[in-house]
Symmetry: C2
Subunit: 455 residues, 2 copies
């Protein structure tokens, strides 16, 4: 029998002790976020009412390339890290490709995805500052589950606004959050001004990440000793996720290889940046030529078809204005199963890197993503999250090119999470009822043209 897989691990001592802040090494730094009230660049203190202070400092830090991981966070990381780096012999064989395919398996975390890497850090900094309550939003529920567990681990109360359509369609993830002790509310709700405004206009509104963010920020601002937390998009979240790429770099050394191509699925950018940035620093500093590919859904194509412009991160306009690739903060993505990729904008670091040609983006249709997920499941035994299926599809595209050229390229992708809570999606695929959604040019233009008025 041929080899199915080979896994590479780190010892506890080899687990990285610092996160990597690519902002310090970028040739063109991200443009500053703008305070919408003053139209001035945002100061660290402007963020203090919303986030724990250390997270605000990390968000705007363009000086320090390396940030120490607090001992308490590293202790918690050790409970599920290092995550395996896997040589995917089974997938290579199924494709008949000469490419060497590796994936970093973040699905082994207790909550089933990479989201815990930042949830633990954010909960820790809140706790350290004497905060007692945290709020957040969640779509399909991966981030909400991670924050709920992290809050419990550090003794904080958690309130989660879950996008209503997911709250009703995916009761399992809601139950997971509740099992960890969080209070979960369907968004839009009547508990915030932002939610009430939307429900008054549109009583049947099924919610969006942008709306849930508005509600969670509003609750944090109106609750004593409470702060908001976010699962992606922001630079400090991506910073925490660099543990993925830093581990992968050491593990690739153990495998005796270095990636020619690094791939991550793309919602707000934290899992893509997490696996990519540690490798990208060698492109920046040593002239390596590794390619970095963000795989986004064809139904929410901000990187491939959006504009680079200042925009709000949420629907109600509570966030600072961020310089990002965006489809407009009012863009309503189709209801694809990859709920974590249904976000209108990209983080400021990735946006600058894409503008500067340091990385690429590809859009993947829903059917192609699940076709890739099915192939991967049968070849590797792990059923991937619908989000991760996008990264797998992009990896398969590159591996197929190698069949044509005969090149033994080394492809690394991030398996951001498992799909065990998303089996209804696989069921639709298996029964032939799953659909593709592609945004029309008119939709893109209408939303982007509205955007002009923001600044």
């Amino acid at each position: 029998m041929e080899k199915h897989q080979k896994r590479y691990f780190l010892t506890e001592e080899e687990i990285p002790t610092q996160w990597y802040n690519i902002q310090a090494d970028m040739v063109n730094k991200p443009l500053p976020p703008i305070n919408p009230a003053t139209k001035q660049p945002l100061k660290v203190e402007d963020l203090y009412p919303v986030f724990a202070e250390e997270l605000c400092r990390q968000e705007l830090d363009q000086e320090h390339a390396w940030i120490d991981i607090p001992e308490e966070v590293r202790d918690m990381y050790k409970y599920y890290r290092s995550t395996p780096l896997v040589r995917a012999y089974g997938l290579e064989k199924a494709l008949g490709t000469p490419a060497h395919i590796y994936f970093k398996n973040e699905s082994v975390s207790p909550v089933g995805s990479h989201k815990l890497n930042s949830a633990l850090a954010q909960a820790y900094y809140c706790k350290q500052q004497g905060i007692t309550n945290v709020t957040t939003e969640t779509g399909a529920g991966q981030w909400g589950a991670a924050l709920s567990y992290a809050a419990k681990a550090f003794g904080l109360e958690a309130a989660v606004y879950q996008v209503k359509i997911s709250y009703n369609q995916k009761p399992y993830r809601r139950s997971i959050m509740q099992t960890y002790g969080a209070q979960v509310t369907a968004s839009p709700s009547m508990s915030t001004r932002a939610g009430k405004d939307i429900l008054t206009r549109d009583p049947n509104n099924q919610g969006s990440l942008g709306t849930a963010i508005s509600e969670a920020i509003e609750l944090a601002l109106n609750t004593p000793n409470c702060r908001y937390t976010l699962g992606s998009v922001l630079s400090h979240v991506t910073l925490h996720q660099t543990i993925i790429g830093l581990e992968a770099e050491k593990q690739m050394q153990k495998a005796g290889e270095y990636p020619d191509i690094v791939i991550g699925c793309f919602g707000g950018g934290s899992n893509f940046g997490g696996i990519s940035f540690p490798f990208m620093r060698h492109n920046i500093k040593e002239g390596r030529t590794t390619r970095f590919i963000a795989a986004e859904p064809a139904s929410c194509p901000k990187l491939t078809r959006g504009v680079f412009q200042y925009d709000f991160g949420d629907v109600a306009g509570y966030t600072p204005l961020l310089p990002m690739y965006t489809l407009g903060h009012n863009f309503m993505p189709a209801n694809i199963h990859a709920g974590g990729l249904r976000y209108h904008g990209a983080g400021v670091i990735v946006s600058q890197l894409l503008k500067d040609g340091m990385m690429e983006a590809v859009d993947i249709r829903q059917l192609e993503s699940f076709e890739a997920g099915m192939l991967f499941s049968r070849a590797e035994g792990i059923i991937p999250a619908p989000e991760s299926c996008h990264a797998i599809a992009a990896a398969i595209q590159e591996a197929k090119k190698c069949i044509a050229t005969g090149e033994e390229k080394v492809i690394l992708f991030n398996l951001s999470g498992h799909g065990l809570i998303d089996m209804a999606a696989y069921d639709q695929y298996l029964s032939g009822s799953l659909q593709d959604y592609v945004v029309t040019d008119e939709d893109v233009q209408r939303n982007i043209s509205q955007l002009e008025k923001v600044l």
Copy 2:
């Protein structure tokens, strides 16, 4: 912050190369299975039409204490093993116990439970013998998912009969099996004589493991080049699961401790035997006094309230007669969420060991099991399978005794699987609608009295 967890691993080289066959060391060997047609002790060849030949030999082997794990199976084990041995500091703190609590985390396998340990072995031996198709039964679907993946990994076709009530109530596990490429049929079905007989008598019959076993055996017997596989009860299945306890023994050495108490939940006995037997050999051979506790549901109490007697393993009477603790093969367990524990009998090895006082059993009510699962989820971050909740509840009972006595006992239990596909059960618990089911003495007596007529 106090420690939450500490994990112990083995290197690839330290992963055991042999399974442990306790039959060779038992003072009183299990009584022989009886061929119901001849009323004579079963010969190895009698089993050949049903199971792969090597599995038949393993089933009745009372001579060899150590069986080599085939290299191909060990290669697949390396993809998810060693599984972590975890010191559960979080749970100890939540209980305030001086006990040292460890758990072996089998939930990290790609299919989410320990079942894969035997599925890979069974699929391998079938493949090696030139078999092309395998059949099996499954309740909640843990075993069916494992066999589906193992069959795919070794290039076999798999047909799974799933108990109808689970097929309809737990569509996620069915989708998992289908994603791995298996054909899944709700049992009782019209595709077998056994199924037809039941449906003719009772068109609304919701199925049972005993019925699904009958259907899967019948399909195997009537299909060329096909064999049946079983997920628990049988001695060769438990043999494969001893990888759990053999790893745990080495990992406990790394932790510098040895268990005073070993606990597993109990359906047919494979996960309990898997973690217990390697430690039990030191009781047998070196006079150690470790206690072994099987945690069964109060709704299916064959160990605590059944009789030791020859009985069939299935409803239709296709299996040999087995000397087992049983509630009678017609016993219909209540519809508890721990579907994997809803079986009327216990494997022949465990039955003999219980009779000989080498181990104990405790029955756990459904509500207590989920209370334990909730506490564990919040303390350790992993949501346990409803089956595993029974082991946790028994471990908590023992840990609480240590609070009273002040003893620092070392308690080890097997976390056989995660509960991510069982969140509907947690939702019921959280909403207060979960029920206890306890069998009446009348029910037990009625089934056992019918049993007298078997031989």
